[in-house]
């Protein structure tokens, strides 16, 4: 039952990522074609455009949601791949714990960066 729920969450996370990462990709990598959320009109990665996005509260939520769902989806997937190799049960469990802890650490770092960026943006 627990596995079913985790697997269902993996699928749900995949759908959420498709939309949020799709938006992120369109902003960053289709900027010449669609120019979304690049008010300064330069490259999407220019500081001026990055700053404008940092000021938008919506992006803080988008980044945190995307980060959370993407970390869960990717580390769950990696855990499944490890589970399909010929490693022993103890090794499987070990990697499962390592990936969970590493995932949480990355989530904390990324969430801190998303919130701190919003706070810092007020200074510029």
């Amino acid at each position: 039952m627990k596995d079913t729920k985790l697997w269902s969450l993996h699928l749900f996370a995949g759908i959420v990522i498709l939309f949020l990462l799709g938006l992120h990709m369109a902003i960053m990598h289709l900027d010449e074609i669609v120019s979304l959320f690049n008010p300064k009109g330069e490259e999407a990665i220019s500081w001026e455009n990055v700053l404008e996005r940092m000021k938008m509260i919506g992006f803080v939520f988008v980044y945190i949601f995307l980060l959370g769902f993407a970390l869960y989806h990717s580390f769950y997937g990696l855990n499944k791949i490890i589970g399909e190799t010929n490693v022993k049960e103890g090794t499987r469990k070990f990697w499962s714990y390592v990936l969970t802890i590493f995932g949480f650490l990355l989530f904390i770092i990324g969430t801190y960066a998303a919130i701190a960026a919003k706070v810092v943006s007020a200074k510029f």
């Binding site: 699928l11 990598h29 010449e32 980060l67 990717s74 791949i81 010929n86 960066a113 701190a116 510029f124």
Partner: protein, 145 residues
């Protein structure tokens, strides 16, 4: 009760060689490879983009470090991986939820399989993925020139 695992004799090798694989099986392999590639990039991406917290100089320095044709091509590979992984993922979710399996029918010769339902969807989704990859390729390598 302890869980019993059966040996996966081929292991990782089985992703590529294990018999007469159909195209869907190779898509499965590519799905995993692109997933691993995106994960590797994603971890680095979290650290690189966090540099914006330290102000414009730090951001510009970080962006300079990951600029140049090598990183540009690498970024395109990530974009490629996302397009493929995303659209192939839609196929896998549809399949997983039973939309492409069909209702059970009596096995009357010539037998019908669900591949007849699945393959057209696979082809359409791969065409859509290719469209976005070409669009991104234009933006990456030709846009703004």
């Amino acid at each position: 009760m302890s869980r019993k695992y059966y040996d996966n004799h081929l292991g990782i090798k089985g992703w590529a060689i294990g018999g007469r694989y159909s195209i869907e099986r190779y898509l499965y392999t590519l799905h995993r490879l692109t997933g691993l590639g995106i994960l590797f990039y994603f971890i680095l991406h979290i650290f690189v983009t966090s540099s914006r917290v330290f102000g414009p100089e730090s951001w510009k320095q970080a962006m300079e470090t990951v600029s140049g044709p090598f990183f540009r091509f690498g970024e395109f590979l990530v974009y490629f991986a996302f397009c493929f992984h995303g659209f192939n993922g839609i196929r896998l979710i549809l399949l997983e939820l039973g939309f492409l399996v069909g209702k059970p029918i009596e096995p009357i010769y010539p037998y019908k399989t669900s591949v007849g339902k699945q393959r057209p969807v696979m082809i359409i989704l791969m065409i859509v993925a290719a469209f976005f990859i070409i669009l991104g390729g234009y933006d990456f390598f030709l846009g703004g020139e």
